[in-house]
């Protein structure tokens, strides 16, 4: 059983009351010199609490104010492998304390030491992310996490999932949930969530019983942005939730990076908008490592390419081309071209973008 300090125990106790909203909890904590003052001397705060939420909640709090109740709370959390880090804990990330709406408590599952990694970097994207962006996101997440960056992201499909998949191997991944640990959303990522719990870290500012509600996701995004020293926006349409993360990053004075998109790609409009406003245009991991002055060495694996393969590779370089166009430009027959493209794909030099389109990485 982990031993929590008096302060931590007080925060755990305070957070267990679902009737108290975040702002009231913060206000109560701010009125106390030390958090444990609340548990030691609850009547001092009675007028404040009754003013906020009424007498019944206060009575409820008073009734459950005893050490064995707090022990039970901690035991329940521990039974579910949940560790608690509060704003007053030693291992609470400094970067998060800087933001105005700093969470008072983080429920954690997994490797909590990741919270103390200085180099936290968030990668977020919308649920609709085009294949090439997915692939690049995976690559960047992998390369950064291999270079001692800890990747911070959510759990949504698309951009978030790609970032997780890239970073999961190295274990340096933090996924921030917008709801309690008793829930999984999207259901599709249940297995992925389990993997992150094993290899990386999953955190949430909500008690496990909190069910996911739409408004909680943008609020959660302040933690993603707040934890990290930089944020990369990999995709986002006009009305994407990713906007909030980027906006928080700017508000908290963090670096903002974004993938560039070509004209007319609806899933990238927001990225381009942020670049216009000053976000750092990011094409590869070098743009990020370069910004932080980190020496990043790409290990170039060179392949021996046949004549046809290098011809097709050169045609595709930097373009997204339809198969018909590659056929025309290369002068190959369809049955000659398909094996060549397959082989380039296996060698991970080109990428299928769907609808018979190909591009280089």
């Amino acid at each position: 059983m982990i031993t929590y300090t008096k302060d931590e125990r007080a925060v755990i106790w305070l957070d267990s009351f679902l009737g108290l909203e975040y702002k009231y909890k913060v206000s109560i904590l701010n009125n106390a010199k030390q958090p444990f003052e609340i548990t030691e001397n609850l009547p001092k705060f009675s007028s404040l609490i009754i003013n906020f939420v009424g007498e019944s909640v206060y009575n409820n709090m008073q009734m459950s104010l005893n050490e064995s109740y707090i022990d039970l709370l901690i035991k329940n959390l521990e039974d579910n492998n949940i560790e608690v880090v509060t704003r007053y804990s030693k291992n609470f990330p400094e970067s998060l304390k800087e933001i105005p709406t700093c969470p008072i408590i983080l429920y954690c599952k997994g490797n909590t030491s990741l919270l103390l990694n200085e180099n936290k970097f968030s990668i977020v994207g919308s649920r609709k992310t085009i294949p090439i962006a997915i692939k690049s996101t995976e690559d960047i997440a992998r390369q950064l996490s291999e270079n001692n960056f800890t990747i911070v992201t959510g759990l949504a499909e698309g951009g978030d999932t790609a970032a997780i998949k890239g970073a999961i191997e190295s274990g340096r991944i933090i996924s921030v949930l917008a709801y309690g640990f008793n829930y999984v959303y999207p259901e599709y990522n249940r297995n992925l969530l389990k993997q992150i719990e094993l290899k990386g870290l999953v955190i949430s500012e909500h008690t496990p019983e909190t069910s996911p509600l739409p408004f909680m996701f943008p609020i959660r995004n302040r933690i993603i942005a707040g934890l990290s020293k930089g944020t990369l926006i990999v995709s986002g349409g006009v009305k994407s939730g990713t906007y909030y993360t980027a906006d928080y990053a700017v508000e908290f004075n963090r670096d903002l990076f974004a993938f560039p998109y070509s004209i007319g790609v609806s899933s990238g409009v927001m990225c381009n908008n942020f670049i216009k406003k000053g976000a750092i245009l990011t094409e590869s991991v070098l743009d990020i490592t370069g910004h932080y002055g980190i020496n990043f060495e790409e290990n170039n694996i060179s392949f021996e390419l046949t004549e046809n393969e290098s011809k097709c590779f050169n045609i595709l370089k930097g373009n997204e081309l339809h198969l018909n166009e590659i056929l025309k430009l290369s002068g190959l027959k369809i049955f000659e071209l398909l094996p060549v493209l397959s082989n380039l794909e296996i060698k991970k030099l080109i990428l299928k973008c769907g609808a018979n389109k190909y591009t280089t990485k």
């Binding site: 369809i334 049955f335 094996p339 082989n343 296996i346 299928k352």
Partner: protein, 510 residues
């Protein structure tokens, strides 16, 4: 007096011999039909009574007992009308003939005026009867064409009961039906579609050629209005001709189902397009009393085209799995069971997502990822594994549509297909299979040896493209066909690589 005749009834594709005994005694006039006769057989009494009267004979006003043996087999349909009528005529001594009728098999339904009506399933009956040693057959005139393709039997086709009576009494003989040698469809087939008219779509066209050459199943995925259906409609134009055995198999099924044309034999491979509201029974075959072949059996040796595959009911699609694997379907009902062959090429088409625009360059897809997954999940993994070629068909640009640049015509493609089919026939001469797609694991080991390099390429492909392990033998079979198209005995790296490129759903971003 007692008289005996033979007739046949159908059980699935098997003809079952029925022995008909008629006995006429003096006593209170009655007509007793025994031997598990179905309603349609029982009703034969009224047809026979009128037919006899209108053919210048009389229905004996005596105690008539007709027995249908074997007694435990349920008899259905009007197959037995003629045989019962002849037995009654003989028993009442209205036919005086020394000839032993037991050489003959009588088949035909009687009309009230004594003419013979055509029957479904004459061909399978004749084939079964021939194998049981019968040589002489009397059948309705309209079934003559169908029967003429069987060698080594004497078929007499009659128009009326009167003609039959005259023939067996040797008063006026019917001419023997001449044997028709099966020839491949010699007249140029007129199709509304031709590969020549399909603009663009090089991958899809190539994939269709491979599918037809090796008998592989194919799935076309693409936004609405990109020509998936048109591509599928081109398949019949490049299908190889059928051998006599194949044609006979197909004709048997269509004869039972009653969908035979006046040509009497199926010369063109069937192309069946059941609508997506089709029920499982209509697709697989079934029925309460007489088990009819379903769409998959009617598509035997041909193509079953399922347009907008996810719209079909789940259970209907899942029911296809076992026939796709075995090439036959065995249908069991409380009263009877039947085995019908169902070796077909499955050609299916679907949109990439519910709105249809996923992956499209000019239109935006409004579907959520979960919606797309749900849509695609309608086609289960095991079913998808049985589809060897998954091809994306994409939207055509307007310029391509009006360009005059015409591609290969169906006739040229068909020549290549015919060649590859010939290679396969020679390869599998001792293996009882026809196409590469029919190969079992044992045959794959025998005919699809991979060089070390090819093996390595395949392994790489699996790791990089995250293919499902079950796809391995499918890929090898397709690679075999591609190698055949290339006139190569060995399966080389490039054949494997091309085969891998047709697994676009396995290797998709969603």
């Amino acid at each position: 007096m007692l008289a005996k005749t033979y007739s046949f009834t159908l059980l699935g594709l098997e003809g079952k011999i029925i022995e008909i005994e008629a006995d006429i005694n003096s006593g209170i006039p009655s007509y007793e039909l025994v031997g598990l006769a179905d309603t349609s057989v029982r009703e034969s009494r009224e047809r026979i009574r009128s037919a006899l009267k209108n053919s210048g004979k009389t229905f004996p006003i005596k105690k008539i007992t007709v027995n249908l043996a074997p007694a435990d087999l349920k008899k259905e349909g009007a197959y037995l009308d003629l045989a019962i009528a002849i037995a009654i005529l003989k028993a009442s001594q209205q036919i005086l003939s020394n000839e032993n009728f037991l050489d003959y098999v009588f088949l035909g339904e009687l009309a009230l005026d004594g003419t013979l009506r055509p029957l479904n399933g004459i061909l399978p009956i004749l084939i079964s009867a021939k194998s049981q040693g019968f040589k002489n057959f009397i059948i309705p005139k309209q079934n003559e064409r169908e029967a003429s393709f069987i060698e080594g039997i004497d078929v007499y086709s009659a128009e009326s009961l009167k003609q039959v009576c005259n023939h067996i009494q040797k008063i006026e003989l019917i001419n023997k039906t001449l044997f028709n040698k099966y020839e491949k469809s010699n007249k140029e087939q007129k199709y509304n579609f031709d590969m020549r008219f399909v603009k663009g779509q090089p991958v899809a066209k190539r994939a269709i050629e491979i599918a037809v050459s090796g008998g592989h199943n194919i799935l076309l995925i693409g936004p609405p209005g990109t020509g998936k259906t048109m591509l599928a409609r081109c398949i019949p134009t490049i299908m190889p001709d059928m051998s006599f055995d194949e044609a006979l198999e197909v004709t048997k099924i269509h004869s039972v189902a009653g969908t035979l044309n006046e040509d009497g034999i199926m010369r063109i491979r069937p192309f069946r397009t059941p609508h997506h509201t089709s029920t499982t029974v209509s697709m697989c075959g079934g029925g309460n009393k007489h088990i009819r072949p379903g769409e998959i059996s009617l598509a035997h040796n041909g193509v079953l085209f399922l347009d907008e595959m996810p719209e079909y009911s789940r259970s209907t699609l899942e029911a296809l799995r076992q026939p796709l694997e075995d090439g036959v379907i065995s249908i069991s009902r409380a009263n009877s069971n039947a085995v019908y062959p169902a070796n077909f090429i499955l050609c299916a088409s679907m949109n990439p997502c519910p709105c249809g625009n996923f992956g499209s360059s000019d239109k935006e897809c409004n579907c959520k990822a979960s919606e797309i997954r749900r849509y695609r999940a309608k086609i289960s993994g095991p079913l998808l594994d049985r589809i060897d070629l998954q091809v994306e068909v994409d939207s055509i640009k307007y310029d391509d549509l009006i360009s005059d640049e015409s591609s290969e015509s169906s006739i040229d493609v068909k020549k290549r297909v015919d060649n590859v089919r010939k290679i396969q026939r020679e390869r599998f001469i001792n293996n009882k299979i026809n196409t590469n797609s029919d190969m079992s694991e044992r045959e794959i080991k025998e005919f699809c040896k991979l060089s070390k390099e090819s093996e390595k390429t395949l392994k790489n492909a699996f790791e990089c493209l995250k293919l499902s392990a079950r796809a391995r033998s499918r890929i090898i079979k397709v690679a075999r066909t591609i190698a055949d198209l290339d006139f190569s005995d060995n399966i080389n790296e490039r054949h494997i690589l091309e085969a891998v490129s047709y697994r676009s759903l396995d290797n998709s971003s969603i």
